[in-house]
């Protein structure tokens, strides 16, 4: 990170999910012929899903081979929804057990251990209030492919209204 100082919440493995999802789409768009035949069925999903307004905050669990939760979610969500950042995210992809991590952080914080930030209050549908921009919905998924499936299904459903 010579010469470039990233905000603290962006250090660590939280970028894994974003890189994995972005890379999957980049490969699908630029080198579709190199994708093995078994995964060709995924091509339309990988190519069509719009990631322009999707935020991702998920690490990787090597033992389980799936996304793992990240710490300091509050700072990350605040970062995603900084005023002036356009386009603002419409959804944030997280690991499936991100809410457990948030609960752990909450308990640790109440016990006064460490300097862990208090997770944001969250409603039952995994919506986080963000910087006066309404609610940011979180999409808990196990891996990038599941994320693409969920995002594509939502995208096709919303497209049905305008086609």
């Amino acid at each position: 990170m010579n010469g470039l100082e990233l905000p603290t919440p962006f250090h660590g493995d939280s970028h894994f999910g974003a890189v994995a999802i972005g890379l999957a789409q980049a490969v699908a768009l630029t080198s579709s012929s190199r994708i093995r035949s078994g995964a060709q069925a995924l091509l339309p999903i990988l190519q069509s899903t719009s990631l322009e307004r999707v935020a991702v905050s998920a690490a990787w669990n090597e033992q389980k081979c799936e996304f793992s939760p990240v710490g300091s979610m509050q700072s990350k969500l605040v970062g995603f929804c900084m005023p002036g950042l356009e386009p603002s995210p419409a959804i944030c992809v997280t690991a499936t057990d991100q809410d457990e991590q948030d609960e752990r952080e909450k308990k640790l914080n109440s016990a006064g251990e460490g300097k862990i930030e208090l997770p944001l209050p969250r409603n039952a549908e995994l919506n986080y209030p963000m910087n006066g921009r309404g609610l940011l919905r979180c999409l808990p998924v196990r891996d990038p492919i599941e994320a693409f499936h969920h995002l594509w299904e939502a995208q096709t459903r919303s497209l049905a209204r305008c086609l």
Partner: protein, 329 residues
């Protein structure tokens, strides 16, 4: 303007889908058009202006077509689309700006097709087929241009031609029966009753002592008297008061002739005139269209003391006589 053009393009797409891919829609619209034509086109004799007689069924058919298309658009397409809306919008409201290649649009439309009933699926599969015809090497298409992207492609010609079938059907119904015997045959099958004149009424005014109406110093009394006939013969004669006056109206009652052309041809002998009470302006023959279900009246005047020697005939459009009656032959 944007919302209006959006609704218009969606309407046209649904209309093209219905006419090119739905036999049920064609059957319904076709039968409704035939029904409207049958009941609204009396072929010249309705009480409304001539253009209503010709074009009322077209307006009715178009209204039905419009209503069916709107119903399919709003009930069959837009309502399910609202129902299947996701609980989160990953596009953040920028759906219309999304650009995809035709192959990816086809995959998207196929997935959309799986999320509703039969009509919904049929529409989206048809839509997908239209996009597929653009070819997979086509440049990416923006969502807000997808509806119209295939309209001007050669593959769209059959779809537009099906839209032209409806006006062609109207033209066929409008023109064909006027100059053929089709309507005569249909009318014969629909109404096998004999077509005839069954009553002639004499309406006149008689100078009489007991006045019911005053016109200066002349007292007149209205007379309404049926002409007599022997049995079911076609010879009618004036009797009683009607014989005593030299002018009046004859009211002819005949069988109803819906949807076919019938006219009443009246001709007069030496001693009478038609259409006027003035002997100078009276005619010897006249032809009037028969309005179905309505009696027809015409004026007559007796110019000499001879019998009227009048004939009244029901005629077809080609001039052939269906039924002929005589008044004081």
């Amino acid at each position: 303007v944007r919302a209006l053009s959006g609704n218009l393009t969606a309407f046209l797409n649904v209309a093209l889908f219905l006419l090119s891919a739905s036999k049920a829609a064609w059957l319904f619209i076709g039968l409704a058009t035939l029904g409207a034509w049958w009941f609204l086109s009396d072929y010249y004799f309705a009480l409304w202006p001539w253009w209503m007689d010709r074009f009322a069924f077209i307006a009715c058919s178009f209204a039905i077509f419009f209503a069916v298309t709107e119903a399919v658009l709003w009930i069959g397409i837009r309502r399910p689309a609202r129902r299947c809306a996701p609980d989160f919008d990953s596009l953040g409201g920028s759906n219309r700006e999304l650009k995809l290649t035709p192959v990816n649009w086809c995959a998207t439309l196929d997935v959309i097709a799986c999320q509703g009933g039969r009509l919904w699926a049929a529409y989206w599969h048809w839509y997908c087929a239209r996009i597929k015809h653009l070819g997979f090497d086509h440049e990416p298409i923006c969502a807000n241009r997808l509806r119209t992207s295939w309209w001007f492609h050669p593959s769209a010609i059959p779809q537009w031609m099906t839209l032209g079938c409806l006006p062609a059907f109207w033209a066929l119904l409008l023109l064909a029966p006027l100059h053929t015997n089709v309507m005569e045959h249909i009318a014969d099958i629909a109404g096998p009753k004999p077509q005839e004149i069954f009553n002639v009424l004499c309406l006149t005014e008689l100078q009489d002592g007991a006045a019911t109406e005053s016109r200066g110093d002349i007292h007149l009394r209205a007379v309404s008297e049926p002409l007599t006939r022997e049995g079911s013969s076609s010879v009618y004669a004036r009797t009683d008061k009607c014989v005593r006056v030299p002018f009046g109206d004859f009211v002819v009652s005949s069988t109803r002739f819906p949807r076919v052309y019938r006219s009443l041809v009246v001709s007069c002998g030496q001693g009478c005139g038609l259409d006027s009470r003035d002997t100078d302006h009276a005619k010897k023959t006249m032809e009037m269209p028969v309005i179905p279900g309505q009696d027809l009246s015409f004026m007559w005047i007796q110019t000499t003391s001879d019998p009227l020697k009048m004939t009244i005939a029901l005629a077809r459009q080609d001039g052939s006589t269906l039924y002929k009656a005589a008044i004081e032959p």
